[in-house]
Amino acid sequence: MKTDVATIADPREVHCFTKQIVRIPDRLPIDVSDEDLRRIRAAHAAGQDAPTICRVMTPEDGDKRLTWDPNSKEEVFDAKELWEQLIKEGMDPYRVDQKTGKVTAEKLKIFYAKLGEVVFLPVRAMVGG
């Protein structure tokens, strides 16, 4: 199928607006399937212990989907490192939640290991049109 998707050299690379490349640590699983995302989201809704979903918005492939387990120290360490790098490159983390059917989003200032779902937005690329 022909698409407009640019060639992605490395799926673990995030090309930021600042022309910098942030690499996703190898220990964090990426390319989570839709089925897994639904399962994790259902676990969050049920209050069960489940990995944190993180999406990084990129122009190359829409968004990078990665997860980390808040109970794994290594993954949390890598996630925090990635978190700080992305913020440094002009991305802002927003925690997304649906409470009683109403969507809410909260801009996060500090890193939390246990989050439901977080989306990194390229806020620096947003300008007045």
Partner: protein, 317 residues
Amino acid sequence: MSIIPSLYQNCYNLNWKVTPMGVLTNWKLRYENDGGTADVQGTDISTQWVPLQCCHNYTNTAVSPVNTELYDEMHTKAAEYLVDQINTQVYSNIWSDYKVHLDNGEQAYTWQTECSPPVVVTVSERLRQVMAERHSPAILIRKSTRLEQTVDVREKRARELLRNIVGEAQYQNFLRRGTVSVRGPSGRVYCIQPGHGITTVYHAGHRLARLCVVLEGQFPPTDALVARLLMILGDEESFWCKANITMHNGAFRPPEEVWRPLLRPDLQFEPPVQPTEAVSRADVLSPQDSLVDIYRKLKAQYDGRLATTPQQISSSP
């Protein structure tokens, strides 16, 4: 040379219509209008003849040579009068409709010009028309906003992300309408469009402002929508700071003290009801105004409308 060809030439130039009216004998013809009357009489006329009738459309029902000759013979006087009227009244732009009476003793016909000949519009009148047209509301043709299926993997992922964020019902609404509406923390309702579309802000059914924020780069359109959506929900003030703002009264890039109160949830802001253009023009303009007067009045009216809202906002608690 008869005057009839010049009359026909005038008819042709003015897009008039020559209509056959039937067979008449012992006729008496009278042209009458505000400028006076012209009588033409004849006898032993048993052939079809062709009176003049003013109309917009010119149809090539030119009379036969016999009728032309007849016409030439009979209507010279009336034609002279009409040509004179055409030359004096039409070109001096004071034309008024005229009546035609036809009587042969047995039958009588009276008819009136169906419509006035084309009016020669002066320059000032034309400018007045142009100004009126520019103040008229535009006719909007709504395009189909239903989103089509895409083959772009990035766009598919972006729509899936939007679906996860806003839920199934809102997502189906987005597919139908092409926009997502969300209520911000300030209570204002934002209508967000994908791509580089304008974000419109509403309050109590009134449009407050139009915000233009674009996502630079080769992002899929729905990603731009998601970015705006999350930013509005999570950091509404930053979104307004980044945006190019057009207020509801047309003010572009207003100062911060104008738009920042709109983010206060406690502010009961009610936009002034704008008068319709037809009413406002009728109040302001009169046909006797010169162009300079019209311009000054319209400009004063426009400036007054612009000055209304910031004062109201700043005077609010």
